[in-house]
Amino acid sequence: MTKYLLGAAALAAVAALVPVAPASAQPKTITLCWAAWDPANALVELSKDFTAKSGVGMKFEFVPWPNFADRMLNELNSKGKLCDLMIGDSQWIGGAAENAHYVKLNDFFAKEGIKMDDFMPATVLGYSEWPKGTPNYWALPAMGDALGWTYRKDWFARPDIQADFKKKYNRDLAVPKSLTELTEIAQFFQGREIDGKKVYGAAIFTERGSEGITMGVSNFLYPYGFKYQDPKKPYSMQGFVNSEGAVKGLEAYKALFKCCTPPGYTDAYMQEGLDAFKSGQVAMQMNWFAFFPGLYKDEKVGGQRIGFFVNPPEKERGSQLGGQGISVVSYSPNKAEALAYIKWFAAPDVQKKWWALGGYSAHKAVLNDPGFAATAPFAADFLKAMGEVVDFWAEPSYAQLLLAEQKRVHDYVVADKGTAKEALDALIKDWQKVFKDDGKGN
């Protein structure tokens, strides 16, 4: 018995030395790495067109969002050859540019006549440029995205619910015009019985491990006046990160979390939000526009039952920027084919098809089309959101900055440590240390 098992083990050891993939006598394939979500499935469909036109096959490596950054940054740092094309998060641009993980695309764009002017400026700034504000391009804007909201239009339309709301708040139940109104609506729905089941106010982002709670809280911080730095003095954060408005915004997010979320909602990100909304647990959901096409098509909560709205203002307007650009990995042995993909992807007709399939094109030909707002119920809100997006730091050390905010915010909002001001003050200290290590700022 033991002999057989050991024999099998020996065989396995030998098998290890055999290369995994057979030597390529097959047509070329390139691998595209992205996050595993709805738009990625749409891209698989779209890319069949590329394969048909160029004969190059496409393989895909999709990783769920909570693990995406970890896995892909690890891959880039270990000079891995898994990915030829990478649709990396907007925050990676700084690190990827400075450490030569991505191929610089300026020459390629010039040669192929791809103009950055053809793309929405917010996306070029957010997804392609490093350093920010300079014409150095490391990615083609691939997926425009921002953090928005969905709500149960069918519940809002019920006469009994409308009457109750009017009685309580002395105004009509409608899409909230401010974050305060949003919180009131959430409070109203929290614990209410609808169709025999208890429902809750809102599903918001509270994820600890990667970037969830930071993305979520930003949607409250920006409208309350939070700024990352003094616009006149880069990396100077006192009074901007911890301004009075910022403190109020953070407190408001915690209040919403404590009063109006489903039980156990302490580590939730996009997927959990979708689950909560689709199973009829919540009246409103905070999530990326990327999911709205899929939600609209959902059998249980889609169609007439769902409504969308852009992040409401409070003192100012602001939505957290999402979205990614597509880049060529500099360690790839198939750069020529990868560049060919980017050239194909940048064409206006492909971009139009991309939007039709569920991807958010950043191309002006699609977004500036007069009929755009009518193409989907969330299209107008998307345009509005993209007009007021703010992004997180995209510095090469963005991961340290992000992890610091994740910790401080989660500690305060979920683990009840300290006050909002203390959390933001500690965050400034954390960020100052990172910038000091990098030799930036005061």
């Binding site: 033991t2 098992l5 050891a13 469909e45 693990n67 896995r71 997927q271 979708l274």
Partner: protein
């Protein structure tokens, strides 16, 4: 008191009542601790909506959707496109069509499972082979500073795997061993071999030297004596060591998630990131977990007699 009464059993044998009480309690513990596993097994046969229903469903309509989802990738299509397709072939295709999806290809589960098999069994074989040789060497010959060396080597097992991974990551990056099966086998072998040496030395110490010395007197070379005389006697020890090495390598996560990506990734980093259309595809995760448990369970049941010695680093002999 005279012991004239002869009892049918020794006075230390527990009474019948004590045995019943013990049996009840142990069986109760076993049943309770099996509940999560039973839940995993059941969840593998639920449909995704059923798996996240609240309250949790104990009675449900079983389906193979979890297993199908585990092995395939699917994409959602429009109803018009669906109408143009030929009728579905096979259960998995039928299930997918029922949800307005088509099967787009096979998932990465099987390649990951195979990686696990190759890497775990490969490193076990290497660790046991190297370990047996080295243990024999340490046991039979006077190696300078043997005891200190052995303790220090064993103490490297006290390092958190993340800590060990830091320099290994850098090293493998330079050597091009990142994300290779060979790299992972080397790493797991090296982690296990210290333990293997320690364990097997204990076993080989127990085999009297006289046997091989007699063989050598009969004209066997030292190596021949080792091969023909010592090794067969050591099979118990080898089995015990092999179990432990295999369990470690099979279930290992930290190194796998940090040092592998696409080619050499094993199942443990893969299973927790199987997602469906919303959150995690719990039936598929449960199916993957169940299938992943099978080989290790089989191996353990077959070699359970040697289990105790293996998992306690040879310190405990039954």
């Amino acid at each position: 008191m005279s012991t004239g009464i002869v009892t049918a059993h020794s006075v230390v044998e527990p009474s019948g009542r004590a045995k019943t009480v013990a049996a009840t309690l142990v069986i109760a513990y076993a049943v309770i601790s099996m509940i999560p596993l039973a839940w995993i097994l059941l969840t593998g046969f639920k449909s995704p909506p059923d798996s996240i229903s609240y309250p949790p469903k104990v009675i449900f309509e079983p389906t193979l959707e979890g297993y199908c989802n585990l092995f395939t990738t699917r994409s959602r299509q429009t109803a018009e496109y669906m109408a143009t397709l030929p009728p579905p072939v096979g259960t998995c295709e039928e299930i997918a069509r029922g949800r307005n999806m088509v099967i787009a290809g096979s998932s990465n589960y099987v390649p990951r499972f195979i990686n696990s098999l190759v890497i775990a069994f490969g490193s076990t074989f290497c660790a046991v082979a190297l370990g047996t040789l080295a243990a024999y060497g340490f046991s039979r010959f006077k190696v300078p500073l043997a005891d200190d060396l052995l303790f220090f080597i064993l103490s490297t097992r006290m390092m958190p795997p993340i800590a060990v991974a830091i320099p290994i990551y850098l090293m493998y990056r330079e050597l091009g061993l990142s994300d290779t099966r060979l790299g992972m086998i080397l790493l797991y072998t090296s982690v296990n071999v210290s333990l293997a040496v320690w364990l097997l030395k204990g076993f080989i110490d127990e085999i009297p030297r006289e046997y091989e010395e007699a063989a050598m007197v009969d004209g066997y070379t030292r190596f021949h004596a080792f091969w023909k005389v010592v090794l067969p006697q050591a099979t118990t020890g080898i089995a015990a060591t092999a179990i432990f090495c295999l369990i470690f390598a099979w279930n290992e996560y930290a190194f796998a998630v940090l040092l592998t990506s696409g080619e050499a990734q094993t199942a443990p980093p893969f299973i927790p990131i199987i997602i469906g259309e919303g959150g995690q595809d719990w039936p598929a995760v449960a199916a993957g977990t169940t299938l992943f448990l099978v080989p290790i369970l089989a191996f353990t049941v077959l070699l359970r007699r040697h289990l105790l010695r293996g998992i306690t680093f040879g310190a405990v002999r039954k």
